[in-house]
Symmetry: C2
Subunit: 202 residues, 2 copies
């Protein structure tokens, strides 16, 4: 009979990929249920039965863990940071210019597949958290005029951008699915800008 | 031993509900694969192994069969007909005023549930057909200025409306999910109108 130790491949702790997967599963569950803000690395570690240090070691920051949980192999902050340097009056056009090439890319394919399964499943709360907590904090605070309107403005922006994702990559409307990025950005940009800074009924 | 005939409930042909379900399944498959225009009642009947007259008897017109296939218990034409009487320059505002109360209603719940499962599954072609064939024909022809732009205009409108469905009913963004219909219509109306009749880069 072969012992447990003998069956392990050398140089690799047994079950490391199981542990990583268990952490991700716990993270998805907690993020979906409680949102990003109210989920701690410590809680994810506890749910997965591992040390918090191991979660940090495998996945880095909480934002990076969230990205991994929704199968985005990049730190969302890398996308959001350049948007911080964009003047508010240009955001409507810049947002699709930054996001569409990403969604069109190979990296984007995994993201779209995840969105698609999240939309159908019980973990749609992951999308809600991302849009309400990450995007609202990043962008909403900058367009909060009149005070209190920022969150709603951003949610209208989200409704248009989510609609582009669904129409272009999931429903694959023809010719919408193959329109050049520039043409989509020029078409939706002024509409997004109106949601962000226009005179709206709230 | 009870004979087959004895087990049947009186006054109801055996297997009628099976047959209806089999027709719907065939219809969903063919509509998803070939679209609405290229799917005939005859083809659906053949796929289900029944007489075309039975399909008509159970489901009426092809449009009504399509509505049943996507679990909408009303004829889409009943919704679309009032839109025909709306001047093109008011469509941007009228569209959400007609659609949102429907989606918010009890009837809408089944429709949203269907959209949600279609988005995740292999029959997303049903949505594509509906948007490309029904909506494009109904609305696209009226906003085809410059010639050839009508279909693209309508697909941008679809991207915003689908985004509202996803944000309000599926992701359930808060407060977006509970904004009054009037506020959403006034906010997205001018943007939809720009897609329909505005000066766009195509």
């Amino acid at each position: 009979m072969t012992s447990e130790a003998e069956r392990r491949r050398p140089g690799r702790p047994a079950g490391a990929s199981d542990t990583r997967e268990r952490i991700l599963t716990s993270a998805r569950g907690l993020f979906a249920q409680n949102g990003i803000d109210k989920t701690s690395i410590r809680a994810v570690a506890a749910a997965a039965g591992v040390d918090p240090a191991l979660v940090h070691h495998y996945y880095g920051t909480k934002e990076q863990l969230f990205a991994a949980a929704i199968h985005v192999p990049i730190d969302p902050m890398e996308i959001l940071r350049p948007l911080r340097d964009t003047p508010v009056e240009n955001l409507g056009y810049t947002l699709p210019c930054v996001l569409l090439p990403l969604w069109d890319s190979e990296i984007g394919k995994g993201f779209i597949a995840t969105i698609r399964s999240l939309l159908a499943g019980s973990e749609v709360g992951l999308l809600r958290s991302f849009l309400q907590e990450v995007i609202a904090v990043e962008v909403g605070a900058r367009v909060d005029n009149p005070p209190g309107s920022g969150l709603i403005r951003v949610q209208f922006v989200a409704s248009q951008l989510v609609g582009v994702v669904v129409a272009r990559y999931i429903i694959e409307l023809d010719p919408f699915k193959s329109l050049p990025v520039e043409q989509i950005a020029e078409t939706i940009g002024p509409n997004l800008q109106r949601y962000l800074t226009g005179d709206l009924p709230f």
